[in-house]
Amino acid sequence: MPAAKELILRGMPVSRGFARGRVFVYRQYLPELVERRLKPRETAAEVRRFRAAVEHAKAELGALHQRVKSDMGRDFAEFIDVQLALVADEELLSETEQAIRENYRNAEYAYAETLKRLTRPMTGAAASLFRERVLDVLDVGSRVLKHLLGEAFPSLHSVEAGTVVVARDLPPSEAALLDSKRVAGLVLEGGGKTSHTAIMAKAKEIPAVVGVESLLREAKEGQEVVVDGYRGLAILDPTPRRLASYQSDIELYNRHREILAGLAEQEAVTLDGRMLDLSANIEFLTEARTARRNGARGIGLFRTEYLYLSRLTPPTEDEQYEVLAEVAKAMKPGPVIVRTFDLGGDKVVPGYVESNPFLGWRGLRLCLDNLEFFKRQLRAMLRASAHGTVKIMFPMVATIEELRRAKLVVASVKRELKRERVEFDDGVEVGVMVETPSAALLAERLAKECSFLSIGSNDLTQYTLAVDRGNERVAGLYDHFHPAVLELIRMTIAAAHNAGIWVGLCGEFAGDPLGILVLVGLGIDELSVSPALLHEAKKIIRSIDSGTAREIMQAAMKLGTALEVRRLLRRELHRRFPKLAEFIFEIGGDNGGQ
């Protein structure tokens, strides 16, 4: 067999790691089914066969509902409610049965044709919100057909170990149950960084690349493929040389994971005995469990926007409360720092557009203008505080008045809850996320009026350098080692300590090996990183001492450019902690910690 030509496809990396395996093309469609004419006396049995298939599908969805609810939380199970209604749809069932009885058609054909006919107005509907339901309809349809055809439909639950799933996107019922023991990697033609499937892959630690153009045209079933979840590559029919190079990357990566996983039970303590709180940034419940397993002491940043964006309608107080309470219980007695909604106005008010969203109506500003909405979330947070240690954090604070007003709202919600005799922790800590230059400059004053500060380094970098990192033309100017950003971080940490409160950092800076070196040098109390980075961060903390880190930090603080800072940090890390440097930069080479 002539060697196939290697093809490198590029996309966006959404879940780190490497995978090598065989392509499994997941296609979701209703197949062209064979049309069979029944004899009149066969129709009754055919109707029974059809009903049995529907019952099977219903039972499966019921079980899926339970599993997704306990695994992922009720929010994620909502789509199954809709699927349950679809599978039992009166028109769909009665028209299918009619086609079997009166037109003497076989069940598969009758069902698929009826489904097509009933959904035709929907696929053509102008309203995109309704159009996305087509995915659910197809999902339900293929489930019933699978039963009629006797498991002839391949599903991700039954693929062999070492499979790389290739698809346009996955329906929610497949994404929710991706099994990392079987699915080695995931490559999608569609999807974005924040798509449901991308989030699932990350939570399940399956290396994934999304947004890969012409993927489905190029990838063939059973083809060999390498997924590079670091660089965002899918390499089809890799050459022997490429494979050898990736094979060593993969082995290295697995060895690293093993070594690092051994640290889960260890403390995040420096060589000279300085203890740090190492926490995790999460977006949803299942990540809390990963964080716990990976040895996080608490949740340093619980982003609540997903609670809002994952659905078409704002979540109720009870819905928010349930998720928050579950996370609080999962991390108990560790703290869970919940950030109040950090949403842009466009996400909250339909049709609202502004010319400069990053400087616009968003975050705490928006919440203070929508008190009912804000109070509902605060009530949910406070009620959840009865189940563990919950702390409240406000995003996008630029002035002291905003903090004061937000605190007044918290106080009034507490009074309400007391009047209603609802249980909550009256001593809940309230803190500020420092992500505007103004908040960093005012840190000393803010620190006097709250219980903690947490530096959001991503937005702080963006606002300080006036760079939108999503804009390709200027993204190169974005660097969290810019001396101006370092100076604001230094000021914030010093201000918190002067006021006698603790301070953390929850941006990408905390997951950057060189960043950790600087932060330990600055005496930070808490670091919060994504659950997948916990082990590596702990390894770094445990391999350095705060005295040396301080010396390196002081030298870095004198430099004039981000590049100089990076060079110095890298050089010093190699010089002072050679074994650690070798370990960190073994995978993917020393790219400066980027």
Binding site: V82, E91, L118, A127, F130, V137, L312, T313
Partner: protein, 85 residues
């Protein structure tokens, strides 16, 4: 037979979740339930049919109920539509 008109509230209209809830409620009654928008009538006990109406926020929908328990059904289903979120 009873009929009433409802203007669909909420930010996104009669989408999948409220439609599923509506169907669950409708199935509790023996009466026949129908919905119409722009003169197109559909079965109110079928989520597929309801979704094909594409009743966005602000659209004018007619609810029709006929059967032995039509009074209770109309009241309950009308409330469901008025509370779409």
């Amino acid at each position: 037979m009873l009929r009433c008109r409802v203007v669909i509230p909420g930010p996104v209209g009669l989408h999948a979740r409220p439609a599923a809830e509506f169907v669950r409620e409708a199935e509790k009654y023996r009466s026949r339930v129908r919905l119409a928008k722009d003169g197109v009538w559909v079965n109110g006990k079928s989520i597929l049919s309801i979704l094909t109406l594409a009743a966005e926020s602000g659209s004018d929908v007619t609810l029709e109920v006929s059967g032995p328990d039509e009074n209770e059904a109309l009241a309950a289903l009308r409330t469901k539509l008025e509370q779409v979120t």
